[in-house]
Symmetry: C3
Subunit: 266 residues, 3 copies
């Protein structure tokens, strides 16, 4: 049963093992993603060349694919990386950034889902809806839909691809088949910092590297995100100081903060 | 007549409408650009693949093109995006980063100016001069010329392309045909942070998204930049703390700060 | 003889001359690299297009090549840039990020070393070992080997390529033929910030731009890195506040801090 203890144990394992998390992600967030993984205790690597992605996956404990700034060569590398992850039996996290905004993104996200097993899809409401329903409205990479509106779509994706689906928003909702975990931690400043959704996907990769239960891994990552967001907001004057304190808290967070603050609905 | 009221009104409209600003920009500043747009209240999106730029422009309220780290495929995407912006009648801001430093950059900037209507060109003195005069000296992406030296070149570009030209420096000078606005806000630490010129271009896109008067939009963006720079400098110990406070101030700035601090010469 | 005076003199020259440092580096660290160079007083430029790298090298006082996020087109541009630097007689710094992690990276680093004279190779223990010994273990871009384990490999590279080799770790070790400088400044938080190794390479480029002695330039850069790290650590709560204070200290550091804190073993 998912609880504060699950999150505490996974966090300790991330810090003890420092799992290598291989990211093929977008240009906007690469620095933040790497820093968030280092702050929490994981070891990030970024590599996208078709010449090396498979070999790099061979060193990694999790693969995170993020389509935030796509181009054709990268899509090929992403597919190869997913197939290499399948062979190596490491978990894959897919972040379908901006799915629904352009047909290229929606098609690419769907194509990647077909190219090999994905353990966890993590996106906002609009993105999750767009993977199921081609007529979804979006506004670039920001969501026009709350996560509740996407729960049924998430459940459908979970059945179709045998994965957990993590939908972020004011309440984060993680579904896998009939199971659901709602994480109520977080803060309204979080969407004012670019790439915190992508950061959530990267941390989900770190949790999946140490916990084979995809539902727990996805929920644990969102819990740590949300709690660090609350702690950072107490010290921030605006989005930039919020981001700084958030990253510091990924480094500082421990048993005490998780026990005191975790708010979940099972 | 441009005044504090113009800036206050435009800023409120940015925050109320959260216009989607589509950026095709350089790798160095993508994260800062997105965060600056989020901090001020706009909604940023980055997309450069030829497969999707036109569709993404179709969702946007302004397009910002920045040639800071060029490569051939991106130039094609930039041209397509500008033509899509023309069809959708949304304003285009062009930042000719490093024009004059290499002939590839100068030629690309000129080619983009020919590919469709640009509402505002925003660059430093060297870059604006280089667009007009092929013999201009530059030092990479930093300016060797103050903005005053580029006013005539700016006016010439304004006539030739029917756009406003925003020249940044200790005093920012915005020209359109015979009109001129000088913005005297700012701080010497600003050029010690990479990408604040690019940030100015992105914010110019946000202002242009809510104000069809290109001269006012360009001047309003420089005014907010400069005032936030002054406020940040009062709290900074060096360039990094300056950048943090600057981004926080983009979030916090309101009527009071603009009224108290705006220094313009019409 | 290398001493605090050497570092102080080089730092003053960087600030007086603001040398243009041309970087072809990875997506993860571009922003940090540019900001670190600006903070210390140099002038950064990033350019990677084959159409312009040679012309940009022609404006620069040093070239820094970093293979952190490789792809094929970039490798071609890197080779061209090194050959242009040879013609212009400006120093080249090579950072073989992740050499040993994939054969593409190891092969690329070696190929670049063959394409023209490199003044300084700067890497962590694993990377330096991998350039010499194909069987080296690595963990993505993080080192599994302390710098002492790589001293002999460093000396071998120094002989083979006629360059200095700067090996970073808890103690930084710079070797050139039979000479060695150990820099004992630094702080354990430094590897928790992404790209501080890449920052060291960029600052090494700035020092090499003002000091033709590659051993001194390499050691001076590591000394300033380490001292700023110690100063930042005293004010930091975690990796993000550490990074902020570190960058501020690059701007603030002067004679006093260097004299008081420099710890070297010649």
């Amino acid at each position: 049963m998912f609880s504060a203890q699950t999150v505490i144990r996974d966090l300790e394992n991330i810090r003890r093992r420092a799992p290598l998390v291989h990211n093929i992600t977008n240009f906007v967030v690469m620095n933040l993603t790497a820093n968030a993984l280092l702050s929490i205790g994981a070891s990030p690597v970024m590599a996208h060349a078709v010449e090396e992605v498979e070999e790099m996956v061979g060193l990694a404990s999790a693969l995170v694919i993020n389509i935030g700034t796509l181009s054709r060569h990268w899509v090929e590398a992403m597919g190869r990386a997913i197939r290499a992850a399948e062979k190596k039996k490491i978990p894959v996290v897919l972040d379908p950034v901006g799915a629904g905004a352009t047909s290229f993104r929606t098609a690419t996200a769907r194509q990647l889902l077909e190219s090999g097993p994905v353990a966890i899809i993590r996106g906002n409401g609009s993105e999750i809806l767009a993977l199921v329903n081609s007529g979804t409205r979006t506004k670039g990479v920001d969501s026009l839909e709350g996560p509740e509106a996407a729960v049924e779509a998430g459940r459908q994706l979970s059945h179709q691809y045998g994965c957990a689906v993590s939908i972020s928003g004011p309440t984060d909702i993680v579904v896998r088949n009939g199971e659901t975990i709602r994480v109520e931690n977080g803060h309204p400043l979080m969407p004012r910092v670019t790439g915190l959704g992508c950061t959530a996907s990267a941390l989900t990769g770190a949790f999946a590297a140490v916990n084979p239960d995809s539902l727990e891994a996805a929920a644990g990552a969102m819990a740590v995100m949300g709690i660090c967001g609350e702690l950072a907001a107490g010290q921030a004057r605006g989005p930039a100081s919020f981001e700084l304190h958030f990253l510091d808290w990924l480094h500082l967070i421990g048993e005490k903060e998780i026990k005191e603050r975790l708010k979940i609905i099972l």
